[in-house]
Subunit: 273 residues, 2 copies
């Protein structure tokens, strides 16, 4: 018996994409999910476009091979550097986080001036600036390489994280962007320090994270892709499967901080071409 | 014509091992060097023993295949987690950084009580504690996961780095280790913040980094391994070849901070089993 419930494949270099999975589970509970974290090769954010694209395409193939009817690239770096290559190689629809994030920023920003924070690789790609300029916004992009390690150290309400964020945001909201009214979290780790960023950012600034808008984009795709699930299927809880390329024990331990609840079914995967 | 000058293979997950290469070049200028930085998969310090061992063995095979007559594992994490497996698979002598570092600490520490700082993986392996206890020393090991990203951000003399180091060292030099008289830098990134650590550590503390003692261990091995080079060979400058698994441009740019002079000949390598 095959289920008509779709399986949504969600991919990230590690744990950050779990913040997107969390938003997906809230908005689309009548689907199953396969999450792939490439934890043996993380982080992607400091690496080159060639390397990130190769890794991301391998991961996308794995999820498609596992039966995913749609792929969510829940990683800003992989989306920014490799969405075209992933889409070209995939046989199912692919949704990244940059376009939904840019769309959300466009609807939130009154003065059409935004600051985007992300990894070194995401910022160097200018994927956000292009997506925002296409919507008539001007954007300052700022690389914040220390924020991911600070989040992974668990220092989400720590004075050191406050200082580091203060330095980065101080440099970003300057030189013609003092009055930018929106801060786009261009990395899926950053929602964990959203309360801290709210305190540090200038008072008039709204914060956009792309998890929720990405979930809405996925819901739109699904509607076109599949007939509505029958009632029985709709009522049952999502099945969640997790795959990690490094230690499953560490994935369970660190992952629950991002997902907000315990992680059960994790399998180790060894990606070789 | 084959040269009698040995090629020494030096391996690290990324850039930190260049501090060891620097010490090798000073002590053993009459050799050639092949340096391998696994920059596409760095960092190793947050990853599991299985993953690190697999990566390190692949890198060691690559260097041996490139003609290395001796391998230096210039990475504390790879040494701590995988030296046995690298040595078992290699056909040439293998020198790690933990034993030389422990030996240096034993000769420096008067009260036989030391603090070792390193990555999460190095500390979890207790490789240093075992090596130090075997020499009659007692050791407190402390994981400092933020120091590598801070060094890579270039914040080697930054107040944030001072605070972070202050927190880590404060926790380490406590609970019976207030009077430890030696600090072992159990990560090859840390020599770049040695002046800062000198200021932060208790005033009576000596700092040991394993680069120099590792270079001496290598010199000892070479003496047994090869006849003395002829005068002509001895006089010529070391040939340096660099291999990196991620961007060569980034390797050149970041690497020179660690080596202390410009890096010329870098080739990209794609490791697949």
């Amino acid at each position: 018996m095959t289920s008509r419930r779709p399986t949504i494949g969600v991919f990230d270099s590690g744990f950050g994409g779990l913040t997107v999975l969390k938003a997906l589970l809230e908005l689309i509970p009548d689907a199953d999910y396969a999450y792939f974290g490439d934890t043996a090769r993380l982080p992607y954010g400091s690496k080159s476009v060639e390397t990130v694209a190769r890794y991301a395409v391998e991961a996308a193939h794995f999820l498609e091979g596992s039966g995913a009817a749609l792929l969510v690239i829940a990683c800003n770096t992989a989306t920014a550097l490799a969405l075209d290559r992933i889409t070209a190689g995939a046989h199912v629809p692919v949704v990244g986080v940059v376009e939904p994030g840019a769309g959300a920023a466009a609807s939130v920003s009154a003065n059409k001036k935004v600051v985007v924070v992300g990894t070194e690789a995401t910022v160097s790609s200018h994927a956000y600036r292009k997506a925002l300029e296409a919507r008539g916004l001007s954007a300052r992009e700022k690389a914040c390489p220390l924020l991911v390690p600070l989040v992974e150290e668990g220092w989400v309400e720590h004075r050191v994280t406050e200082q580091v964020a203060g330095i980065y945001l101080g440099e970003a909201f300057a030189d013609g962007f003092q009055d930018a009214d929106t801060l786009v979290l261009g990395c899926t780790h950053y929602p964990l320090i959203k309360p801290l960023l709210h305190r540090i950012a200038p008072a008039h600034v709204s914060i956009v994270d792309s998890a929720e808008s990405t979930a809405r984009a996925v819901a739109g795709h699904l509607k076109n892709l599949l007939p509505p699930a029958v009632d029985q299927e709709r009522r049952s809880k999502p099945r969640l499967k997790f795959f990690a390329t490094d230690s499953v024990e560490k994935f369970r331990r660190l992952g629950q901080r991002f997902l907000g609840h315990p992680i059960e079914d994790v399998q180790h995967v060894d990606l070789k071409e």
